[in-house]
Symmetry: C2
Subunit: 410 residues, 2 copies
């Protein structure tokens, strides 16, 4: 699999988060010759927050994590993630596989099974044989590594062409705290979800409620603002852990003067990982930002932006480097949201192609074509009815997407 | 352009409808060496019904037709259709072009300009120069032909690979009446619309109100139940004319004993044309029928069916002849409608691949693969919560779709 042309050139090396170790191995779930099993381990119980797919047919691991989080007093000692099999639509046996996996991890680590979070990604509908995990997790427990972040990001890939890692620091009262994150995802990526899978950790101590509130707020403009193909996964999971192992007082309130610095660092990692996922969209050759303004409300702007982002005709036009604003008009029109056709304006990059509901009188095809030849394309749309705005990110639709997905399962 | 492998083998020859003549010519709007202008002419004012795109950015001809129909006492003496330019998102000049076209037709035929219906299809956002229509329509007025239906279907094509014609007859009180129809459409095809363009006529005299009611009802299960790429056009238009030129008493009431026979004939033509459009979906190699049952309501079943029909991952799997029911589960899940994951069952053709929320114990890969190699694929889904049901039709997503749309405008 060729690496996406949009891959980051210099991925960062993630620093350790004290008390958090990672280990991977090749468990042979589906792929040959690569790692496919990850265990993240916490020396002390970590505070945990999570957001999950809105699918009505969630995977068994999503059911499992939701149940732990809803119990209220959840804390984490481990996360077990496998690639190659999503353990989704696997019925009663799927639930049994999650219990067996959590039991294996709790035996290996000497913790309770409700301190073990789970995620699976890969093919849907095939039973997952969790019996292999017993011995495997025992081995992983013995070789956790604080520097295992890159290996971890590799072990959870499916059709991804590069591992996705991100890190940020913040200065809180003279102490430097870190936020690390890894993610995977390339196809079956659409909003109304978390993402495929992302795992973040920070050594900033944060209360459970605030951690959950922050994650919920920040996914709105990051993972929930991207789309590769409008298809929402059964397995989307974002988990955020606070190891709380230092001497820094717990952050529990938005009025805390340290809140902004932490939020900025966390937001940066979430945004970076989300962009990396869309830049690794299956078959992608272009990264598209869609900025809608002048809508009736922010929510209305978001619907219009997603209508543009998910339109196969807009995405194929971008693939063909065609400044086809007519298809943008079509996508605005089909969104069903208030828009004034005769006040609509559209820009590609810095080039205004349409204004007052028709082609810009100063429009020059060659100038627009120049913008379309770039790797990063910004489509701006003002729909002329209000002050609502929204930004979402997507990628183009190429023959490679069809090739990748025309023969994935077999 | 290669003809779709799903094209009908023996298109019917459409019989005349008394008092209705058609003429076409190459007006050079965009294409070279082919016809692109059609005028349908009625000797006597025809009763007319219409349904149009729900786009918030409708084309100027859609605005024009809607205004005529909303005026209440609309009747038709002509329909002028051009291919190559949609006259959409063309501002004030777009409205002027419709007026100029209607004036030219009314001058050529000696009727009022509000008896001239209009439709345009092709590129969006380019001004349409209607000045060429003056002389052209004058010529067409002189050479209307009752047998011009096939030529008419050809003149309105854009990326279509074959002309779409359909006809049906009904026996009403010993008299044979006819319903003829033509349509075009291949990409930018999605529900919540009429379709790209379809024009039907019958010699059955029908009252205006009943004609409109019938058309509105029947598009629900035909044109509004198909999708090629989830993209809704700015120009979708279905117009149905009743020439009312014979001695048959006007049909004005559903309790009329002739109603069922007429409705059946009209429904057959609408369904046939809708299927021809989806079978000519850009790049299509497979025709997919999706039948959802066991939903909370028919409307809920329809949303689930469309979620499956519009999923790029389901469509690429069908293109790859892969019986990937996991993606069907995904599409059910993302629809957001009530569904019981653990009661879900899925069939491909006659093969039950999943039952009670997991793979059918009797599932044999080879049997399902055999179904997938056929040209016509039926996907059945029972979501296990009620008695709502719905059927929609779609096609697969292939590299050809991307090729066709990656370079359409330039």
């Amino acid at each position: 699999m060729k690496v996406s042309p949009l891959a980051p050139e210099n991925p960062p090396r993630l620093p350790p988060i004290a008390g958090l170790r990672l280990a991977t191995m090749a468990a042979g779930i589906k792929y040959a010759g690569r790692t496919d099993l990850l265990m993240m381990m916490f020396d002390n119980p970590a505070v945990v927050a999570g957001v999950f797919t809105q699918s009505r047919c969630p995977s068994a691991p999503v059911d499992w994590c939701r149940r732990l989080l809803h119990a209220g007093e959840a804390s984490a000692r481990a996360v077990v993630v496998n690639a190659g099999n999503a353990n989704a639509f696997t019925g009663r046996r799927g639930a049994e596989a999650t219990l067996m996996t959590a039991n294996a991890a709790s035996a290996a680590l000497g913790c309770a099974n409700n301190e073990v979070f789970l995620a699976s990604t890969g093919v849907i509908g095939e039973p997952l044989d969790a019996s292999v995990f017993g011995g495997a997790l025992q081995q992983l427990a013995g070789r956790g590594d604080e520097n295992g972040w890159s290996d971890a990001a590799e072990a959870i890939m499916t059709t991804d062409t590069y591992p996705k890692v991100s890190t940020a620091t913040a200065d809180v009262d003279g102490e430097t705290i870190t936020v690390n994150g890894i993610a995977k995802g390339s196809g079956m990526i659409a909003p109304d979800m978390a993402t495929m899978l992302a795992f973040l950790a920070t050594d900033m101590p944060v209360s459970r409620q605030l951690l959950q509130d922050l994650l919920g707020e920040l996914v709105g403009g990051s993972f929930n603002a991207i789309t590769v193909d409008s298809d929402t996964s059964t397995s989307d999971t974002v988990l955020l852990f606070s190891t709380a192992s230092g001497n820094i007082p717990v952050l529990a309130d938005k009025s805390d003067q340290r809140f902004d610095a932490f939020k900025t660092a966390l937001g940066a990692v979430l945004h970076d990982l989300a962009m990396q996922i869309v830049r690794d969209g299956e078959g992608a050759t272009k990264h598209i930002e869609i900025a809608v303004s002048g809508a009736e409300s922010d929510e209305s702007a978001r619907k219009i932006a997603l209508s543009i982002a998910n339109s196969p005709l807009v995405k194929t036009a971008v693939a063909g480097e065609d400044a086809n604003w007519g298809r943008v008009v079509m996508a605005v029109g089909k969104a069903g949201e208030p828009a004034d056709r005769d006040k609509l304006s559209i820009t590609f990059g810095d080039v205004r192609v349409a204004v007052h509901g028709e082609r810009d009188p100063d429009y020059v095809e060659e100038t627009a074509s120049e913008v379309m030849r770039k790797q990063d394309i910004r489509i701006g749309v003002d729909v002329g009815v209000g002050i609502g705005e929204s930004r979402v990110w997507s990628c183009d639709l190429t023959k490679e997407y069809v090739a990748i997905n025309g023969d994935y399962r077999s």
